[in-house]
């Protein structure tokens, strides 16, 4: 079943590649490539397509950075506390 869907999808893709004019979804692409308005819309569409990925990637990157920094600080605080208690014990203060 999956193979059948895959074949249909590949056929549609091949047809779209061979007939690009009929597969333009944009309502202002009627003039074809090379037109200034079309180029403007294409550039804008590309920019707006990429931006959400950049924004979400930045947010995820910020979260990962904050998590790693917090983990590093926590590990450092724990090791310092253990060293502190070990020193107290060696001095016979406990």
């Amino acid at each position: 079943m999956m193979k059948k869907y895959f074949c249909v999808a590949m056929l549609m893709l091949a047809w779209a590649v061979n007939h690009p004019v009929t597969t333009w979804a944009c309502s202002v692409c009627f003039t074809g490539t090379g037109d200034a308005v079309t180029d403007g819309f294409n550039a804008s569409v590309l920019f707006l397509m990429v931006t959400p990925y950049a924004v979400v990637g930045s947010i995820v990157g910020g979260l990962v950075f904050a998590y790693r920094r917090a983990s590093r600080k926590r590990a450092q605080a724990e090791s310092e506390a253990i060293e502190h208690f070990a020193l107290i014990q060696e001095d016979g203060l406990t």
Partner: protein
């Protein structure tokens, strides 16, 4: 009875990270009790989401600008005044310097240097105010030369994009002044400075956005 079972539960708790718990026969002391601290505060997360939304808002404006800019080979359109590139370049440097000072202020509070923090926040606010003043002055000149919101697509795009950014700088400046007042009152410490941190994030975002807008609207 209840106390016995609680004591048994505590006694059967596995040791934390390989540290031996204190026993009656000796051994190392228990690790210090510390509360669970989340890796990011709620305010920090909220500002991160806000910045994502702001980025998308400006992306929409930039997308609209790209359509009109690329669709018009002659840009700026004929009979429209030219934008003040040199003055705005100086203004850009001033705004970029303000991002530098606020980051230095964040480092100062991490070291516990309150007076330096207040000093650096004052410089940041002054730079933001100078930026807005110069922008406002240039806007008056452009209006005088005939570039209005309805004069052409050029004017409409300019005032919409640059105006939205100026509004954001104004909002960030008000936030910064509140943070400055709190810093003067000693509200920020080495352990608790999330208010300053989020304000710094927003300010750096607004400042970082400006060179992109300057390059697109003034130079492209």
């Amino acid at each position: 009875m209840a106390r016995d079972s609680t004591a048994r539960k505590l006694d059967e708790t596995p040791p934390l990270r390989g540290v031996k718990r204190r026993s009656f026969g000796g051994g190392k002391p228990p690790p210090p009790v510390r509360p669970h601290v989340p890796f990011a505060s709620n305010l920090w997360l909220a500002v991160l989401m806000l910045l994502g939304a702001e980025a998308m808002f400006f992306a929409g404006l930039i997308g609209a600008f790209l359509v009109f800019r690329i669709a018009n080979p002659v840009w700026p359109p004929p009979f429209q005044p030219r934008l003040p590139i040199e003055v705005t370049a100086v203004n850009t440097v001033i705004l970029l310097a303000s991002a530098f000072t606020i980051r230095l202020g964040l480092r100062a509070v991490q070291r516990g240097d309150r007076s330096r923090l207040v000093h650096l926040l004052s410089w940041t606010a002054a730079a933001g105010a100078i930026f807005l003043t110069i922008q406002g002055f240039e806007w008056f000149r452009l209006l005088h030369f005939g570039l209005t919101l309805s004069s052409s697509i050029y004017g409409g795009l300019f005032y919409t994009i640059i105006g939205c950014h100026a509004l954001h700088v104004f909002g960030a400046l008000i936030w910064l002044l509140i943070v400055w007042q709190k810093a003067r009152a000693g509200k920020y410490t080495r352990q608790n400075y999330v208010g300053l941190q989020t304000c710094s994030m927003y300010w750096v975002f607004v400042v970082g956005l400006w060179p992109l807008l300057y390059g697109l609207v003034y130079l492209y």
